[in-house]
Symmetry: C2
């Protein structure tokens, strides 16, 4: 492939001049710019990214690590992130952890080998052990999304998870429901624990006993929620409502309920967290708490670029965004 030397020869200028034109790193006359750009076009020259990275120490690469790209919530995050990074002149590596922390570490290692300039990370665990592992693996500016991680100095952008849990649960309680089965995510993930905490708060605030025995442990997966809800619905003292803490579990629960022949919301009401792209074509349409995904993602990227380019230091603080309840048809009065 053509190199910068070929361009210099063709344009009849010095190599350093070509570099100056490409990077606008030194003043050059319009005539020279024109000659160089023409030469670049004629030869079909494209600067060699790896050579630039090696020499300049700046890869202009950003890593985005999410639990699951086929989850519509995260594919939106991915799309917005890529666009924003591209605009800022960065390329993006987007990778799935599949909710597995060993994969997360392996992906971080790959990102490291590419010397990414920054990371946006939706982590898989919140505990301090995991925090230590992350600190050992990460040595670039990083912004956390979603899952809080103990003991890391990074900024974190999330919605007010507790309030999200509170809003959904309050809605069900206000409709008269008391026996509410809650489908939780993995223990040890702040996202799930905080949403659950919000649910507890909604009960206690109303001087109601929180039915701890109706909390169904899960792993955010659709399949697990599917199986669990079938068991719960077949048992004695069927709950009158369910609350699912994330989108894939909502799918699993809806499928599971449908498969038992029960009807929603006639036999059981549902409130959820996270939205679908096209609720109109679902049956029933889910009543759900949504987060401002676009805004949160843009803020996270802006914070990251600030750290990368202006050397801003992370505050280690958490930026909370306000969740919003959207009432549709899946939850009805008891």
């Amino acid at each position: 492939m053509a190199t910068i030397r070929d361009v210099a020869k063709r344009a009849g200028v010095a190599i350093s001049t070509v570099s100056a034109v490409i990077n606008r790193s030194a003043p050059t006359s319009d005539a020279v710019i024109d000659r160089v750009e023409r030469a670049i076009a004629e030869i079909g020259y494209t600067p060699h990214g790896a050579a630039r990275t090696l020499r300049s120490g700046n890869s202009r690469l950003i890593g985005l690590i999410i639990p699951d790209i086929s989850n519509p919530h995260f594919s939106r995050v991915a799309r917005i992130t890529e666009r924003a990074c591209m605009t800022a002149g960065y390329m993006t590596f987007v990778y799935d952890t599949d909710e597995d922390f060993e994969q997360e570490l392996q992906i971080l290692k790959m990102m490291r080998s590419q010397r990414v300039a920054g990371l946006i990370l939706i982590s898989t665990r919140s505990d301090a052990d995991h925090g230590r592992r992350l600190m050992a693996e990460i040595n670039v500016p990083t912004v956390l999304r979603g899952c809080y991680v103990e003991g890391v100095p990074f900024d974190i952008v999330t919605m007010d998870e507790q309030r999200a849990g509170y809003l959904a649960t309050s809605h069900l309680l206000d409709l008269g429901h008391r026996r509410i089965a809650i489908f939780a995510g993995r223990t040890g993930v702040s996202t799930s624990e905080e949403r659950l905490e919000g649910a507890r708060l909604a009960f206690t605030e109303r001087k109601l006993r929180f039915p701890e025995e109706l909390v169904v442990p899960g792993d955010f997966s659709e399949r697990r929620a599917f199986e669990a809800v079938r068991e719960v619905m077949a048992g004695p003292e069927r709950p009158s409502a369910v609350f699912t803490l994330s989108i894939l579990m909502t799918v699993g629960v809806m499928r599971g309920v449908a498969s038992t022949g029960l009807s929603m919301p006639r036999d059981v009401s549902l409130a959820a967290i996270d939205d679908f792209d096209w609720p109109e074509i679902m049956n029933p349409q889910p009543t759900t708490v949504v987060q401002p995904v676009e805004e949160m993602t843009e803020v996270a990227i802006a914070k990251l670029l600030d750290q990368i380019e202006r050397g801003t230091l992370p505050t280690g603080r958490r930026l909370l965004f306000e969740p919003k309840l959207i009432v549709r048809g899946s939850a009805a009065p008891l």
Copy 2:
């Protein structure tokens, strides 16, 4: 960051030996391997990808270009591709064209700057002009998915698009429908044109006139289909059935029909191409033609890796996969 020199010093061996251990590129004794690997772990050394790329001329990077990552069909492709490439020791750049060919070219340029070793491309146009542009931009092994492009020598992996259109249309015809509105994708994209051709075949094979006036031009987008179906349904001589050529248009049509107060399949039947992850929670559940996405994706990657690693030459041939009709509730007898 630590370099290979630091590792060599720490392990008390030569730089070339460290390189040999990392790449298994020369015989080394177990004792030496052990010392080197220990040193790597102690120092926390990660090879510098850009330096390797520059020196070896092999980036071990693969580019995947798809129309839209938030389309569940393509996010599945992305997920499978990343996994397979990772297993083979490649990292992946996944990018959206947003169905825009100028974006496609810009992304190809970025891929070029990173010197990707190979490309999997779902292109946005099929014409020869576009083929020439691609040839000017691409100089690495490439496998096409989905959209055929004229005049390029690459292998292409698709389903039998015409048969897919034939299967769906035949199903509606066999249910007695004659006034079938067909929601097409962009003209100039083989995917759409061939599916449409299959629909025509289903009519003519039954000695029926193909209602050309009921073909609704579109662009694969959800919004356009939404608007179009509302217009069609409000017009005189409402069709008794609709056939949507891709998944986002199916969503748009279902939403559009719902918004007019019509019921599916009572007032209008629907057959579609491409499946959803969770048809069970949809209303109605779509009768649709599906492609073997996993298999096709794996074949495409295998072909690509073969060309990259063993220098196999592309055959320029098209590999057709068999579509399958899945009958659910969205299409009823007239």
